[in-house]
């Protein structure tokens, strides 16, 4: 490699920082959607790099389903404190209490679908005109065509047929009143890129990503953590297993896998030899082949 070439991680980082700075420059009131998962942690890290030595000039927004892994919340609060950033919480519980949404009931009930309403309400209430997220195009088919700057109508909806063409590095953030954008600075990263970057940059991530003995039940092909939010059937047999999570979502639907990967290096080895996509263990995506796309149209991400 010549002296004047970048590694692919350096190039992806430069691209993401460029995009985050464009968001700051082109919008009046941007925010980062922070789920507490590794992808949004990486976005927050990149935002920090983009504006250093100044602080991140926009708030982090967390849509709280109320069904969280306790570790995620603790991690979130520590990170916010360390970065000196503002945190804004949109509460799904509040949307339920106010009657804006109706909670699902039954064995496989989840608050995942309800997040969309809370998210859109939070965006509207705070007048955010651009929300950055950690979604990647490699995650799921429906995301492969997503733009860096994704335009949403005033109902927050995404129209896959009516997206603005994106050329070179010229991003068009122009919009009418009431419309907003979702922006995905790490669109071009893969799961492996994210892990390698976390290792390279020594970024702290929640314990849940590392294998540990956990109390779990076997349901729909993965190990679901036993928690106060989950309804146990008579046939469910809680047991202690060495388990880690590849994605962190709502605790009621995020399945773990058996693993002995308790360091970043071991996780990378595991991801490299894994034959399942990371979303493969999420109940929400299993419901139908197009489920992600349907939720996306409604404004889920």
């Amino acid at each position: 490699m010549s002296d004047y070439s970048l590694t692919h991680l350096e190039e992806l980082e430069a691209e993401a920082i460029y995009i985050i700075r464009e968001v700051f420059a082109q919008f009046d009131n941007p925010a980062i959607l922070f789920s507490g998962g590794k992808d949004s942690i990486v976005v927050a890290h990149l935002a920090r790099k983009a504006f250093w030595p100044a602080k991140i000039p926009f708030p982090l927004v967390h849509i709280d389903t109320g069904h969280n892994f306790p570790e995620t919340m603790e991690f979130r609060d520590n990170l916010i404190k360390e970065m000196g950033a503002n945190l804004i919480v949109g509460s799904v519980q509040q949307s339920i209490d106010e009657g804006a949404v109706i909670e699902e009931t039954g064995m496989n009930a989840s608050r995942n679908a309800l997040q969309t309403t809370t998210l859109l309400d939070t965006i509207e209430f705070n007048n955010f005109d651009a929300c950055m997220g950690g979604a990647r195009r490699d995650e799921e088919k429906a995301r492969a065509k997503e733009r860096f700057f994704s335009h949403r109508d005033d109902f927050g909806q995404w129209d896959p047929k009516n997206q603005r063409p994106e050329l070179w590095n010229l991003f068009n953030g122009k919009k009418r009143m009431g419309e907003h954008f979702r922006v995905f600075p790490i669109s071009n990263w893969t799961e492996m890129d994210v892990w390698q970057y976390i290792l390279q940059e020594n970024i702290a991530i929640p314990e849940l990503y590392f294998a540990k003995e956990r109390n779990v039940i076997w349901r729909n092909g993965s190990w679901l953590p036993v928690s106060e939010f989950i309804t146990l059937k008579d046939t469910d047999e809680p047991q202690i297993k060495m388990v880690r999570f590849r994605t962190l979502g709502d605790i009621t639907i995020t399945g773990g896998q058996e693993s002995d990967a308790n360091t970043l290096e071991k996780i990378i080895q595991e991801v490299a030899s894994s034959r399942q996509t990371e979303r493969g263990n999420r109940e929400d995506d299993k419901r139908s082949e197009s489920s992600m796309e349907d939720r996306k149209r409604q404004g889920y991400f």
């Binding site: 004047y4 070439s5 590694t7 692919h8 430069a14 700051f24 088919k141 010229l170 290096e265 399942q276």
Partner: protein, 425 residues
Amino acid sequence: MENNFDTQGYLDMELLRFTTAGSVDDGKSTLIGRLLYDSKSIFEDQVQQVEQSSKKKGLEHVDLSLFTDGLKDEREQGITIDVAYRYFATPKRKFIIADTPGHVQYTRNMVTGASTANLALILVDARNGVIEQTKRHTFIASLLQIPHIFVCINKMDLVDYSQLAYDKVVKEYTDFAAKLSVKDVRFVPMSALHGDNVVSRGDKMSWYEGGTLLHNLETVHISSDHNLRDCRFPVQTVIRPHSDQYHDFRGYAGRVAGGIFKKGDSVVALPSGLESRIDAIHTMTGELEEAFPPQSVTITLEHDIDISRGDVLVRSENRPEGQQDLDVMLCWLNAKPPRPRAKYVIKHTTAEARAMITDIQYKMDINTLHRIQGDKAIKMNDIARVKLRSTKPLFADYYTVNRVTGSIILVDEATNETVAAGMVR
């Protein structure tokens, strides 16, 4: 774990962005599916999904083209509608594919996919040879200044893997491409369906002396694709921490668009023409001695001069000219044709102004490469040589010299849509 993944090797990899073009049924989806499948970039759950779908369609083999199937609409209509991005990595490189479908909106999609590509794969059906679409794809690739073109001569199994058939296509293509400026053209005979010469060689074409497609993708030299000569640093935003520790810090944040900026270099800010020297090049992990494309950095200067978004830092002996009248090759991307005398927002690097199309010199017939002189009605997917008048000078370079500082887009103020992409001549 048996086969240990090489972490250090991964950290040293380069990134190659390529786009794919071919007319319908040349085998583009099958080829991409084959690249992903044979390089083991497809996960088991995806393979299962595709196996199920293949069975449903009554096929005996796994239909590799289904791996690149996109949105629901397309699944229902059986067509692809836009640019889709795919990712794969081998131990040597990481790849981003901008997959553009070949149908009505083709030019618009390919121009979009090609704008960020280092390389284009152009598919040709060995039975049909160079056809109109092949010429069109090659023209767009050369117009967008993609430095490398790999011509994939596919379906060799249907011409008995014959060297004669291959040589004929190579000759046709070479004759035609001589008219265009493409730096690096290579040919690979292959069968995407059976896998010959995609990832592994196979034993059917021993007469072919070049490497497989993947081998070529892994080894093509790309680090000189950036302009390292003409220093250009478009300012995105100004960083002012307002903290005690960095009280007087005033940094210019941006991404190097050309050349190599060094600490201590004397620089000029345009349009003001004010001069200063680079005090430091900052990143969160430490200062750099020099910065080059496409790095994102923050530059501080020795003097406190007034600089804001849209300005560009250059070297005093190498300045782009501020132009209000731009000579542009324009690709129209929108269903609504340009309105006469209408003003558009023009975006050039981080600068923005308003602009009007003042003259349409000619349209390109992208199949024959002839100029169409009489017809001045620009429609979607048209490529035309035009004159633009901007409300303020833009410090643009020729697109052939720098793809970042030589490109513009037009935005319709009424709809906010990106309606055109232009390359400065």
